[in-house]
């Protein structure tokens, strides 16, 4: 019994285009983690609420667990692995999360990093309200959010000081 049709899907992730073969119902989160081996994107709920699976599609945060891989063919996808080159200098949000102890178990972290990245790349001087608004759709069970807020604040500061 096998009625499922497969598709050739071109995924452009972190600047690199790769082709995968997958059925239409293959979630982007599963395609990234499975077919492409990019396991930095995590799945915490599979129903669009926790934000762990957040990736950027054309610069905007998107829940990869609610997105079919086939639907984002040829779009610009960024995952946590694309924030810094392997072993290379950290992105300001990564630097800030480390400096501010913004992660404990690290499971929610990729989602927060991508969300924060989208925020500060558009606005390097966010107000407290803008920070809250940006990260208010991501769950973390470990940190109590205090250091995550501090990290987002500090990431923006790094971006600003890099510019001057």
């Amino acid at each position: 019994m096998n009625t499922e049709e497969s598709y050739e899907i071109r995924l452009k992730v972190n600047g690199k285009t790769q082709q995968i073969t997958a059925p239409a119902r293959r979630l982007l989160s599963d395609a990234l983690r499975g077919e492409l081996g990019l396991t930095g994107t995590h799945v915490g709920c599979e129903h669009g609420v926790c934000g762990c699976c957040t990736v950027l599609v054309d610069g905007a945060p998107v829940r990869s667990c609610l997105t079919f891989a086939v639907a984002v063919q040829d779009r610009e996808i960024r995952t946590v692995e694309g924030l810094a080159a392997d072993g290379g200098e950290l992105h300001p949000v990564q630097e800030a999360f480390k400096e501010c102890h913004g992660l404990q178990c690290g499971f929610c972290t990729p989602g927060f990093l991508m969300t924060a990245c989208a925020l500060i790349e558009q606005n390097d001087d966010p107000t407290e309200e803008e920070i809250t608004e940006a990260i208010a759709g991501n769950l973390c069970r470990c940190t109590g959010y205090q250091n995550i807020r501090a990290a987002v604040r500090y990431a923006a500061e790094i971006v600003r000081s890099d510019k001057t």
Binding site: Q94, L103, C140
Partner: protein, 792 residues
Amino acid sequence: MTTQSFGKAIRRTEDDRLIRGHGSFTDDAGSAGLSLTMIRSPYANARILSIDVSEAWDVEGVQAVLTYNDLPGRLVEPLPLLIPHPSLVAPRTQYILAKEHVRYVGEAVVAIFATDRYVGEDAAERVIVEYEPREAVVGIDAALGPNLVHDDVPGNVAADHVEHVGNVDQALVGAPHVLELDLDMERSMGSSLEGRASHATWDRHSRKLRIQNATQTPTSVRFAVANILEIPDEQVEVFAIDVGGGFGTKVIHPWPEDILTAWGAIEYERPVKFTEDRVEHFISSSHERAQRHQIKVGFDDEGRILGLDVDFVHDNGAYTPYGMIAPLITATQLPGPYKLPNYRVRFRSVYTNTVQVTPYRGAARPHAVFSMERTIDRIAAFLDIDRAELRRRNFIQPDEFPYDLGMIFQDGRPAIYDSGNYPELLEKVLAMIDWDGFPERRSQTPSGRRRGIGVACYVEGTGLGPYEGGHVRVETGGKVQVSTGLASSGQGHHTVFAQIVADELGVPFEDVEVVTGDTRRFQYAVGTFASRAAVMSGNAVAEAARLVKEKAIQIAAEALEANPDDLEIVDAQVQVKGTPARGIPLAQVAVLANPLRYSFSEAARAATQFAGAGDLDEPPIKPGEDPGLEAAGWYSPVRATFASGAHAVEVEVDTATSEVEILRYCVVHDCGRLINPLIVEGQIHGGVAQGIAGALYEKMAYDEDGNLQNASFMDFLMPYCTEIPEVEIDHLETPSPLNPLGIKGAGEAGVIPVSAVIAAAVEDAEGFQINHMPLFPSELHEMRLMNAEVSE
């Protein structure tokens, strides 16, 4: 001198991998192989009449579909009872797959092995299970009623236990005042963002079963799997590389899926993975916290407690794999920082047709503290004495340690507080929140709002045995490799253990690399729970480092022809004290520690047999010595350490919406000497957030048929950053006399007094009694209406 790292807010070594997306969580392990999909019971209490799996076998990609009757060998037995206790008269654990009967919605019934989870779920839709539903037993009232969860457990009572100190009956009769309270708390659960997971690979060439498991206790998973599969321990390797939060849930083992993945990997000679989805975490892992307490307290005119009698019922769900540890903790931690000359506690642990109850961060201490602190506040209100003052009058004093509670703690040993300073904790937190200035602030409350303040204190037994071990090895390249058996799930163990070893050994922090929770590196361990990892493994790796240091000094003394007493290790060099010029690098000592036949580097030549070193009348390795610059160290305490703390909160409640807003949340925390304040504060932040979640937002909403109606993050209101305030923290450092590092545990503390302190503040704002947690706006609204009626 080597820069000291103990006590410093060093940034974590764990982070670099995790922020680059290079963590290694169990579900990240190889995707080629089989995926395990479980079919779970939709009924809370039912007999299984028939299971038809024939159509599922036809789905392409299905390897096997199993029911209880297909299980081989010891897989047909119930899962182990992890912690037996004499008062646990009717323990029951579940089968790997349900045998004839299901007892909660979510119980595993059928296992499907398929090429991926998509296929597994397609196949699951084709399995037909016929059930004969029975009346479900849901909630404590139902548990005390006529219907049974297990036909052979009368009254649904798993355990009935009494502990007492002094003579409570006499004390209550003689007390000038007696008050009674009925207090209860609802269920919540750990809800780690990574669910349960296991990935098993059978290497038929080396005959090894390799299991990556999202567990807090890899060594015990290993023994359990080997035992149930009836294979030698040596063939089983278990490791937890990164674990996405544990919170107690992941100390339970083996789960049915742990055994099935391991067994399937051998049977089908393919890797097998199980990754729990969110719904499964809600309905098939563990819950905690539902308890109902009846309290009777006798006290004098000054508010001194003369006798306390507590009778509570603990809802343990359908099974008791972790024994009666949770209610036992409530019983023994209830006295907190107060002197109770006469105390009796009885509990019954009862079965219901719901998910099993096992410790969740705080582990039944939140109920203990809620009970005690509500009692203290009630006495204060009755006598019209300031709530802080009433606490002062009942505190165990700093000169009364060690203080024997007269009870047996959860480790089976006497509950004796090792050290503490409760009055100072309280004074600090009162100053922090400006307790005395509150009336003034209250008078400025905006209209439409009510303001209240509360304070709560607690004592937490941490760092309990039986033991942990650690291994330290200096490599000839200069790196110091450290391992310990317990696992990490966000606590920063790699960082704090490196800090400890760096200081003990005299090497830079950056040279130390730590591995936790890998049975290939360290075989003996207990696990990560009860705020014990820092105390237990911390002291064990410290001991191992001391042994390595001793050995290094011995070897260097020979090489330098110096007296060992004159040597020290500074910045990874063994040298004559104060004379860095007369020294030898630790890496070179590591070379000398291993007499060689074959040289592998320029440095290694010094250890080869023609290098001319050593006394030719002695063997290269003398009796009683071992090669290598390494040692294992152990720490096994006679009993637990007791950390403590005081929380204070100021809230505003909206008169229209009944919503509670936290204005300020203050914590003073005493976990003995701080290894890394950044990490301790992170633990407190997270704990308080979970406490607030349990106090104001979360509960498991079961209907009367035993369906969990909020089994998703849409309906279970786990807080986002919008709900959690900033937490202000101060520390007190009262060293523990029980261990050389003077440390106590800190992992669970934050959560413990939160329900108590928020209840106190809301009670203060509203002017009526708060006896139930959590406190949702709708409930608070109802309470307002009821209390308005009563006072009319």
